[in-house]
């Protein structure tokens, strides 16, 4: 064994601890509205807003529609890196195709493979601005990461957990809210 291995092990430990610190202190909160059925996240809803929670602070992320949808998708598949093609394909599922249909006024945006990279870049800019406003020096690359595969493909992965709050109206016209925590593995099921 090389005499330099203790350095490599130490570097590995430090990087692991750092990534664990980030994922435990940051959280996304995504608000869906126009829920049709209480307790169920289904196509027809709108990805209304995205909030970043750091410690006790909550910050609104002013993201345009395409970026809200992309972040919602990445959050549902958090901790799994996906290429631009996979993301574009995954966003053709009913949840995104029928976005906001429950309102009677569909607000749709299709995401192409070539646009993913640019949207990721813009999301990171928004993360940077929000963190800077909170006085936190932290790279958005640690939140929405790009990971190189064996070939030229780049995989995008959200490294922080997320939860969803649903706002909607029930049959009596009363507004209700329901907080739903998606395990990452169930994310795909929400679209079907």
């Amino acid at each position: 064994m090389s005499h330099l291995m203790p350095i490599v092990y130490k570097a590995e430990t430090l990087l692991f601890e750092q990534s664990r610190r980030v994922s435990s202190s940051f959280r996304l909160r995504i608000i869906h509205r126009f829920q049709s059925e209480k307790g169920k996240c289904a196509p027809g809803e709108e990805v209304f807003a995205v909030l970043l929670l750091v410690g006790g602070q909550t910050s609104y992320m002013p993201l345009p529609l395409a970026q809200r949808l992309l972040l919602d998708y990445c959050a549902k598949h958090a901790f799994v890196g996906q290429s631009a093609s996979q993301i574009a394909a995954g966003m053709r599922t009913p949840f995104y195709r029928r976005h906001a249909m429950n309102s009677g006024e569909p607000i749709r945006r299709s995401i192409s493979r070539s646009a993913v990279k640019e949207y990721v870049r813009r999301i990171r800019i928004t993360f940077s601005a929000v963190l800077e406003r909170q006085g936190i020096t932290h790279s958005p690359l640690d939140i929405l990461a790009s990971e190189k595969g064996e070939g030229n493909e780049v995989f995008y992965r959200l490294r922080i957990p997320a939860d969803w709050i649903h706002k909607g109206e029930n049959s009596s016209g009363l507004i209700f809210e329901k907080e739903i925590h998606f395990p990452a593995s169930l994310g795909a099921k929400q679209d079907s």
């Binding site: 090389s2 005499h3 330099l4 291995m5 203790p6 350095i7 490599v8 130490k10 570097a11 590995e12 430090l14 990087l15 750092q18 940077s128 020096t137 932290h138 790279s139 690359l141 640690d142 990971e147 190189k148």
Partner: protein
């Protein structure tokens, strides 16, 4: 993939460290090392971790830290991992710690301590 910068080591150690880090799947780059580019100033904030030889005179990393990117303006704060046998206690280390940068030391070989 984490980005690691290897700074201030002799050429043999630099190559060996980079080889080991790359084998573990890290994106390792060589920064200012030995004589050839010792005066080069390297921006440190694109990296997740900077491994540097703290036993040698480390003008390269010192200049990079104190003059070019003084810590507070970094877009991210890399962890600084110093490799050393003897602790020098440089002044910049305390300044950086105050700015929230993690500075850690490790001995290259426990038998040599």
């Amino acid at each position: 993939m984490a980005r690691i910068l290897v700074v201030n080591f002799d050429d043999t150690t630099t190559h060996e460290l980079m080889r080991l880090l790359r084998l573990r799947g890290y994106d390792a780059e060589a920064g200012p090392n030995e004589q050839a580019n010792a005066s080069e100033q390297k921006a440190l904030d694109p990296y997740d971790l900077v491994v540097f030889d703290a036993s040698r005179r480390f003008h390269a990393i010192e200049d990079a830290i104190t003059t070019v990117h003084g810590g507070s303006s970094w877009s991210r704060k890399p962890i600084l991992l110093g490799v050393m046998d003897v602790y020098h206690g440089p002044q910049w280390e305390f300044d950086l710690r105050k700015k929230g940068v993690q500075v850690v030391y490790v001995a290259p070989d426990a038998n040599r301590l």
